[in-house]
Amino acid sequence: MKYDPWHWIALRGTWGKDFRAPSAAEGGSSGELFGAGACTDPTLCPNPNAHSSSSIVTGPGDYSTQCSLQMTGFQAANPHLQNVKLTNWTAGLVLQPLRDVSLTGDYYNIKATNDIIPAFEAGGLGNYSSILRGAPIIQPYCPATYAAGCTSGERVKQVTPVGTSLALS
């Protein structure tokens, strides 16, 4: 709406709601691969930061090779997604001091709810993403009795209790 009491000044404002429906790639059937960066397996490396000052020391209860993994993630579509809802409003002023000169200033406010973002971005590993595991393999392990952590010579090789990670999903 616009209110112009005199020819050289006008006040204007807008208000509106908007929405965006999930696309087929977001809510249908789709798959996307992404690089998840360096991840820590929470099951096979529960104490990654216990002794992170030195890379040769592994925390107690950790399989040292599972503490920093460059993981690939798989993002699937979610058929239960709802519309993204937006509410926006603006308020502004228009000044026309001279016949050929006008100055305008507007404030924009846009609020989005139910925005659609990747699950890994929303919660990281553990909240909405889980590890796809392969077969258990023999890996160097720091026994829990080493409360101060293990150097490379103190680690023992043993079979992991669960399979090692293949990817995130």
């Binding site: 709601k17 087929a24 789709s30 798959g31 691969l33």
Partner: protein, 74 residues
């Protein structure tokens, strides 16, 4: 009034399924249909002197997702 339909049937290339190729920056496959039916009404006028108002409303029905009513005032 508006009616819109979009069908996507992009399957993953064999190289992506075998693991030989990993794309980043977009889905490797998309299969789905988007259908939207919409009705729109807009009223524009000067109810009093020096004051102009434009009111509009739009109703959308997205198949499989739901409906949305989006009013606006300008």
């Amino acid at each position: 009034m508006q009616w819109y339909k979009k069908v996507q049937d992009e399957h993953a290339p064999p190289a992506a399924l075998s693991g030989a190729q990993s794309e980043s920056g977009g889905p490797i496959y998309v299969i789905g249909t988007e259908k939207d039916a919409a009705a729109f009404l807009e009223l524009d006028g000067k109810p009093i002197k020096h004051f102009e108002v434009d009111a509009a409303g739009r109703f959308d029905h997205y198949q499989g997702v739901g409906s949305a009513f989006t009013p606006s005032l300008a």
